[in-house]
Assembly symmetry: C2
Homo-oligomer: 176 residues x 2
Amino acid sequence: MLEDQIKNIIRDIPDFPKPGIIFKDITPILKNQKLCSDIVDEFVKRIKNLEFDAIAGIESRGFLFGLMLANKLNKPFIPIRKSGRLPFKTIQQSYDLEYGSATIEIHADAFEPGAKILIHDDLLATGGTVEATSQLIEKMEGTIAGYSFLISLDFLNGKERLQKYSENNFSLASYQ
Amino acid sequence: MLEDQIKNIIRDIPDFPKPGIIFKDITPILKNQKLCSDIVDEFVKRIKNLEFDAIAGIESRGFLFGLMLANKLNKPFIPIRKSGRLPFKTIQQSYDLEYGSATIEIHADAFEPGAKILIHDDLLATGGTVEATSQLIEKMEGTIAGYSFLISLDFLNGKERLQKYSENNFSLASYQ
């Protein structure tokens, strides 16, 4: 089963990026292109009934499978980046971190008002960055068609946090 | 011709990230998945005679076509990241910027000694980050099989700078 394959190949890194956190290292997946293809195929299967106009991928690891998925489905790919990285006119959204805050951006011409956007990232944890991305999309008068993650850490309740933006939220490997 | 298509769709952003620089914005390419597929096919055509074991993509924009290319060729993909982002044991390389310096990293188990690595990024400018990536590969006892870029700004002489690591250096759209 794909979920088991993903879980077996992911590497747990204790105390990264700080003490007490067990980080899910996806780099072993990237060494295995057969598995990468299976992951993209499974993403396609899960979202084939969703109606959406573009895929927004969150920097940096959301660029990996995000563009492959967009390409497979022939949908525009929209990069969501940290502040100061996108060169054209941008719309910004700040959000709180445990200490301090962060800002992400989208190009102001990334999509037309009314567009339905699928948001993609490699991992859903508490959902702070993903919620800020959702707010960016809504600021631009888009709607959230759904969320797709490679991994979700369900015990951090990110899915509950995102429910008000879209009921469609799936991950290929979830940890309870 | 693909080079013209790429050049026509790329957006020039004057004075980004600072006065006097004309930034090549590739985000319009990402909206056009037919063009993205053609780009990957052309990359494959250009490197099909190169012998290599893995593709190293430089964070963040080198993740975009880097993973697609690795997937198409069934080669492992190795992320090269800014300092502090890779969770496992890393090897580091610092390099000079115009003001100050930067450090990039690779996972210490990214490849076996003797492996031939193709380095990929979206854009070759002066080649500072790409040279540091080459030095990282050599520190790990790998060799550089070649370089693949979507765009090269040839007037900045990045290709000359990289010549001592590999003679194989190609870009799909170059600016003289």
